[in-house]
């Protein structure tokens, strides 16, 4: 299998693609507290080699993991968030944007790319949690809308990888309307009978869960991801009770009927390949 080789190449190539992976030579797992080398982690699909914990990774890591031969073309890279409201809390929004760009090396909380999976076309829109908490503003909504138009033009299936705290407050109602916008655009894909796969990863909450993330023809997830509408803290404060063990995890959602299945990250590429074959695309 080409897996090992591809990942090794990944290490040697640009570090730009490894933005969300922990930096340095060592990785200490936040679940089991064991340490491993970054090399071991990468070769293990960014899962802790000791306990299998799925480490949060970025859009380009997913592109590398999924597309044939690490090859893909990123689309719509020229979109930038704009401070239309003149929003200022403790910091002005433009300052937050600049900081997020510098810190992450990204331009916003989502990246779209086209490539192939076992020679089949696929468009992936993947969110980046380390850009203002993976929050959805106008750019996230617009890139998804453009990805959908691209899929309609080329009859490519779409995969959206969600990883987000929800809406971007600094864009207020513009952010809210992205829920309507992305959902409305997805109906066009459905009408054209082009499949949309939704992968929900840790974490997926708020307005993203309540729009495109839950609207896949197939909704699936990585193990032990936090997935919900309201955040656990808010729920706890509302009901004034402790939340049960495993509440709002992927496994919980699967049990309650909101996911089709859970896939280990090492099987992600194979799973997508199988789906594309079964859809006969």
């Amino acid at each position: 299998m080409g897996w090992f080789k591809r990942l090794k190449e990944g290490i040697q190539t640009a570090t730009r693609n490894k933005k969300e992976a922990p930096e340095g030579l060592w990785y200490k797992c936040k679940e089991c507290k064991e340490t491993s080398t970054m090399k071991e982690l990468r070769e293990n699909f960014f899962k802790c080699p000791h306990c299998g914990h799925h480490v949060r990774i970025g859009s380009h890591d997913y592109f590398d993991l999924i597309f044939d031969g690490d090859q893909y073309e990123e689309l719509f890279t020229d979109l930038r968030s704009k401070d239309i409201l003149g929003f200022k809390d403790l910091k002005p929004y433009p300052e937050r944007l600049q900081e997020a760009m510098k810190k992450s090396g990204l331009t916003d909380a989502i990246a779209v790319a086209r490539g192939k999976v076992n020679k089949k076309n696929l468009v992936i829109a993947a969110m980046d949690f380390n850009f203002i908490g993976g929050s959805m503003g106008s750019v996230v909504g617009q890139k998804i809308a453009m990805a959908i138009d691209y899929c309609l033009d080329t009859r490519s299936p779409l995969l959206i990888i969600s990883k987000t705290g929800g809406a971007r407050m600094m864009e207020s109602a513009f952010s809210l309307m992205q829920m309507a916008k992305t959902s409305a655009k997805l109906t066009q894909l459905a009408k054209a009978r082009i499949p949309y796969f939704s992968l929900l990863t840790d974490p997926t909450t708020g307005g993203v869960t309540a729009s495109f993330a839950m609207l896949g023809d197939i909704n699936f997830s990585e193990p032990a991801a936090l997935i919900g509408f309201a955040g656990p803290r808010v729920i706890k404060e509302t009901i004034k009770k402790d939340l049960p063990e495993g509440f709002q995890t992927s496994e919980f959602l699967l049990e309650h009927g909101f996911l089709d299945f859970i896939t280990d990250r090492k099987d992600l590429r194979e799973t997508l390949s199988d789906l594309l074959n079964l859809y006969d695309l």
């Binding site: 407050m169 207020s172 952010s175 307005g207 009901i239």
Partner: protein
């Protein structure tokens, strides 16, 4: 009468008016002239206060305990209303009501968030915070409307979808997402009006339509000013600033092109003259339905989707990716 903090000057004038009335009733002094003056003063003070409302003051008004709610508007606007209950899966959500109604000579499906009119009823209505069943009931009624070619009217007034344990178990997010998806393609006209609070996913879950209006003293935002204050200012004390920063008033929303119009409220707010408010609301809905019913379903759906597709503001820049800092 309930006076809000910023209406205190009015409260004083009303107190004076009461006293003068009492004196007048004793019949010793003629107070007609004094009363007339005071009434003029009240009118002018009210006009002053209401012509300069801040975002936060409008938020307070939208939550005024005497403000009319969905069932009141239905009773005023519709000749006949048969409430339809239940999502056919789990239960009947009391925070969202809906049913068949006769509106200006035609049958419509009308749906809205419902808040309680007193302490007991507020609990019963869960303060207008719906569970997934509420959104699924709404969808069931919209599909019913579609089957029989009845237009859909939704009235929005919620502090948010309920953030509870069972709500998560039963898929709050999925229910809202499903409504957005289905409403985008619904073959009958949809007119939505924010009549009070338009908080986030809970509001838009019944709020995707061909025409979306806001009453003058309402708000629409991705988050309530209180929660926004708590998250971004790390304190509950900045709700006024948050309300300003979020630009959540009807004026802002219209200016941004995110809603299709503003429905004026009587001076003093909807609760000051509920019947008049209901008339104004009805007039606007009627006008919108007349326009929308002239369109073919496919044409309407296309326009609806395009409207939402155009929502969003961003810059385009050369596609260089910024360098990551050490």
């Amino acid at each position: 009468m309930v006076f809000l903090e910023f209406e205190k000057p009015l409260e004083k004038l009303y107190e004076q008016l009461d006293k003068i009335k009492q004196v007048g009733e004793e019949g010793i002094v003629d107070v007609t002239e004094m009363m007339r003056e005071l009434e003029t003063k009240i009118r002018n003070t009210r006009k002053d206060i209401y012509s300069n409302l801040t975002g936060w003051q409008k938020v307070q008004l939208s939550r005024h305990p005497e403000r009319p709610y969905t069932l009141y508007y239905i009773s005023q606007m519709c000749k006949k209303f048969i409430e339809l209950h239940g999502d056919r899966c789990v239960k009947d959500d009391k925070a969202i009501v809906g049913g068949l109604a006769s509106f200006e000579g035609q049958t419509v499906v009308i749906i809205g968030h419902q808040k309680g009119i007193n302490t007991k009823m507020r609990q019963y209505r869960n303060f207008g915070m719906a569970n997934p069943e509420g959104y699924r009931k709404a969808l069931r009624l919209m599909k019913l409307a579609e089957r029989f070619n009845f237009p859909v009217i939704t009235l929005i007034d919620t502090p948010g979808a309920y953030p509870g344990l069972e709500a998560e178990e039963r898929g709050q997010a999925e229910a809202i997402a499903r409504n957005l998806f289905e409403m985008a393609q619904l073959r009958v006209p949809i007119v939505c009006v924010v009549i009070g609070e338009g908080a986030s996913g809970g509001a838009i879950g019944i709020g995707l339509g061909d025409r979306v209006y806001m009453l003058e003293n309402t708000w629409y935002s991705v988050i309530s000013p209180e929660s926004c204050s708590s998250i971004l200012w790390h304190s509950w004390d900045y709700k006024e600033q948050a309300a300003e920063a979020l630009k959540l008033t009807a004026d802002h929303m219209f200016e941004f092109g995110l809603i299709d119009g503003i429905i004026k409220e009587p001076v003093g707010g909807a609760h000051a003259a509920p019947e008049e408010m209901a008339k104004l609301l009805k007039k606007q809905i009627k006008k919108a339905l007349t326009e929308l019913q002239e369109m073919e379903p496919d044409e309407r759906i296309e326009a609806r989707i395009n409207k939402y597709a155009n929502m969003g503001v961003y810059d385009t820049e050369p596609s260089d990716v910024p360098k990551k800092e050490k």
